[in-house]
């Protein structure tokens, strides 16, 4: 392994860099640390676009969106004194990592709540639309909504959605496909619901906001299935996503039952800035200072215990900025959101890869402030999210080999992920077949009273959640011939996943070439920040 040296040779394309004989080694996330390794000559490295410039006055952009909505009257025109309004808010699963304060949701809420008060609307509840995710803690909610909203609404009028509350949920209908649509009762019985969305990747927002955020377990059965995932040619591209189609059908039923004013926000991809901004750069363009900073950080991370490393990363919020705010009725609003989102994330790539290399970072949507990225979440990041980070054709061709860097430690957060522990240790040794797991065990976990209690009053993900994590990797499992994990600290976890192990990327590439041939096209996805390959 060589040290990173600055390089002056210009690249022909900014976002797709081809490794040459004098290229610098590449940095890959490997959990709460990094791997620095030379890649074979000819490897393509796909970088995210540079962050789009944030809107200088976010509050003005939000007000403009509320007053000039898509195919709907302005928000102020929908308000009447004495009406019942519910404001639903996206939860802590986005953005990743958490953003610096003020969170964009705080900015939106402060404007919306002020407008509601100005129009004599007092019956207002703010609900964290977390579906079957874990309840946010008081401190997390306070940080997200800001002190003003917190002091005015918490706890009676600002709270977490509870999908298992028998009195708090209501069935609002069925889709033409027979998909059940449950909704939070307070929202269903409101004169108006205002949804405050945080759009981090293109699979967020749109009908998913109401259709999933405020739904129950029986509704999720419509699309959180191995089949729906297998039928989704990238769930990051809604037109090609079977899950998205199902959510849209459910969302339309919701919109018939209750009037919803959607507010969608799009962030840029400034994940790292300040002293960590070098992580956003092409390694060939590193300055001496960048090189020293990285080596210093790597040295320190190598010396620190796991918990300390994790704490450092978790306490480093991202410098995301608002780049778009749209409001109004669901579909036209979301169309604009998606266009902006792809403008930031989509990078054109020519042709598929035979071997795809990607680093798995410390975070996923489901382990913010958790004790670890547990093995099931490593799996969902690899074969789920990162595999699906494409439009059109998959970046990794069918039958290709996926190489990951992650320690795959057998670590779980027992408070956030109790049912994951049982799923991993009891079910996976029996079968990895998602269809069998769904049929045989999903309801058992979903209605397990201990897990229901931990979801409703603790801070645990719902009992069925580990199944969804496994399903979300279904298409990846079906399409990828081999998964090789580099740097695993044990043999058990990769074996349970059905993965092979290697000590270095060089060894993993040699193993992959055994399947794909010496001339195999190798590509590395360089993230975070998020990058979506537009494969042509």
């Amino acid at each position: 392994m060589r040290a990173i040296r600055p390089r002056t040779r210009p690249q022909s394309r900014e976002h797709v860099v081809t490794i040459d004989t004098d290229s610098a080694p590449r940095i890959l996330f490997s959990g709460e640390n990094f791997v620095l390794e030379d890649l074979p000559v000819g490897t393509r490295v796909i970088y995210p676009k540079r962050p789009l410039t944030g809107i200088a006055n976010p509050q003005a952009a939000i007000r403009y969106a509320l007053n000039h909505p898509e195919q709907m009257e302005p928000l102020h025109a929908l308000l009447r004194p004495g009406m019942k309004v519910t404001v639903a808010i996206d939860d802590i699963s986005m953005p990743l990592p958490i953003m610096r304060t003020p969170d964009v949701r705080q900015l939106v809420l402060e404007i919306v709540c002020e407008m509601l008060a100005d129009h004599g609307v007092d019956d207002v509840h703010l609900i964290i639309a977390l579906a079957l995710h874990r309840r946010m803690t008081d401190a997390e909610i306070k940080r997200m909504v800001g002190p003003k909203i917190w002091s005015e609404y918490w706890p009676d009028r600002l709270y977490n959605h509870d999908a298992c509350d028998p009195d708090g949920m209501v069935v609002v209908g069925k889709t033409m496909h027979g998909e059940l649509v449950e909704l939070n009762r307070r929202a269903a019985e409101s004169d108006l619901v205002i949804y405050v969305n945080m759009n981090f990747v293109p699979m967020n927002g749109g009908h998913k906001s109401m259709g999933v955020g405020l739904c129950g377990y029986e509704s999720l059965k419509a699309h959180h299935t191995p089949k729906a995932i297998a039928d989704s040619n990238s769930y990051m591209n809604p037109p090609d996503s079977a899950i998205s189609h199902s959510m849209n059908r459910q969302g339309r039923v919701v919109e018939k039952a209750v009037k919803v004013f959607h507010i969608e926000t799009v962030l840029n991809n400034r994940t790292f800035d300040g002293p960590l901004s070098f992580l956003m750069k092409n390694e060939d363009e590193f300055t001496e200072a960048d090189r020293l900073k990285f080596q210093g950080m790597k040295w320190a991370l190598d010396k620190l215990p796991f918990a300390a490393r994790r704490e450092i990363f978790m306490r480093t919020p991202a410098a995301y900025e608002l780049i778009g705010c749209y409001a109004g009725s669901c579909e036209p609003t979301h169309e604009k959101t998606l266009a902006k989102s792809f403008e930031q994330y989509a990078v054109e790539v020519e042709g598929q890869a035979d071997i795809l290399i990607t680093g798995i970072p410390y975070i996923s949507p489901y382990n913010v402030n958790s004790k670890a990225l547990n093995p099931l979440l490593v799996q969902v990041m690899a074969l789920g999210y990162f595999y699906h980070m494409y439009r059109n054709k998959s970046l990794l061709r069918e039958g290709g080999v996926l190489i990951l860097t992650h320690p795959c430690s057998d670590k779980f957060d027992p408070v956030h992920h109790p049912s994951y522990i049982e799923f991993f240790n009891r079910l996976l040794p029996e079968t990895r077949d998602a269809y069998t797991l769904e049929k045989k065990y999903q309801d058992e976990f979903a209605y397990n009273p201990s897990y229901v209690e931990m979801y409703r009053r603790g801070n645990a993900y719902h009992g069925a959640h580990p199944f969804y994590m496994w399903y979300w990797g279904q298409r990846g499992r079906e399409k990828v011939s081999r998964v090789i994990v580099v740097g695993a600290d044990n043999a058990t976890v990769p074996e349970l996943m059905g993965w092979e192990t290697a000590d270095s990327i060089a060894e993993a590439v040699a193993m992959a070439r055994g399947t794909m041939g010496r001339s195999a096209q190798i590509t590395m996805l360089h993230h975070p920040p998020i990058v979506i390959s537009d494969v042509v």
Binding site: V170, V171, G216, P414, R426, P449, S450, E453, R457
Partner: protein
């Protein structure tokens, strides 16, 4: 709202009580009775004796639950059954009810909604737990029983003692009698001494566990519930 599938209609949830559903233990109940003797002098004498015996109770419990039972329940010798039963209502109102963990009722409610039969299995005395069982609306109460002769306690427990491995045996018999599937049942306890009770079911759950049980739960991947933390 679609109701749960009642997948667990042949299942039961077995609960330990002391430290699991309530903050206190049987010594509190014993002390309550000690303070309520017919005369002031007797009350003072019994209270002092109880306080002085606490280290002995503690040591006996650590060595053997059987020894503990033999020593501890001797303190009830001579007490009238009527008096113990009557005072049990007062014990519940004054001592037990204020010490029920905030989320204990919620847990039982979730379990009942899932279709499980609700059963308390405790080493405490049955008459002290009857008001609690009624309050929590559980289906059955399995607890230790004092032996009475002519309406007065002999200071001995009827066999089998509800403790340790016997709890598991009693649960097996109970499941057999009621056609329940233990592999699809739950057990909740706070203490390592209930390891057998937890191990005999398919879904053991450590509740507010002591250090030893917490460590076991981590090793065996049992869920850990902290009912003492308000939601």
């Amino acid at each position: 709202m679609p109701s749960p599938h009642h997948k667990y209609k042949h299942s039961a949830a077995f609960y330990d009580v002391d430290g699991t559903l309530i903050r206190i233990n049987i010594v509190h109940a014993f002390a309550f009775y000690a303070q309520r003797q017919p005369s002031l002098i007797e009350s003072a004498k019994r209270t002092v004796l109880t306080a002085a015996s606490v280290p002995i109770f503690w040591a006996a419990d650590k060595l053997s639950r059987k020894w503990f039972n033999e020593i501890f329940y001797r303190g009830y010798e001579g007490a009238s059954e009527d008096r113990l039963v009557t005072l049990a209502e007062e014990l519940f109102e004054e001592v037990i009810e204020p010490n029920i963990y905030p989320r204990a009722r919620d847990l039982i409610e979730e379990s009942r909604r899932a279709g499980c039969r609700q059963v308390i299995v405790s080493g405490a005395l049955d008459f002290t737990l009857r008001p609690l069982a009624r309050y929590l609306e559980v289906d059955d109460l399995i607890a230790n029983q004092l032996e009475f002769v002519d309406g007065y306690a002999t200071g001995k427990l009827k066999k089998p003692f509800v403790a340790g491995a016997t709890k598991a045996e009693i649960m097996r018999d109970y499941a057999h009698k009621h056609g329940l599937d233990l592999a699809r049942s739950w057990a909740y306890s706070d203490s390592f001494s209930d390891y057998a009770m937890l191990a005999v079911v398919g879904h053991p759950t450590a509740v507010n566990p002591d250090l030893r049980l917490r460590s076991i739960a981590r090793s065996y991947d049992w869920p850990v519930l902290d009912l003492d933390q308000a939601s």
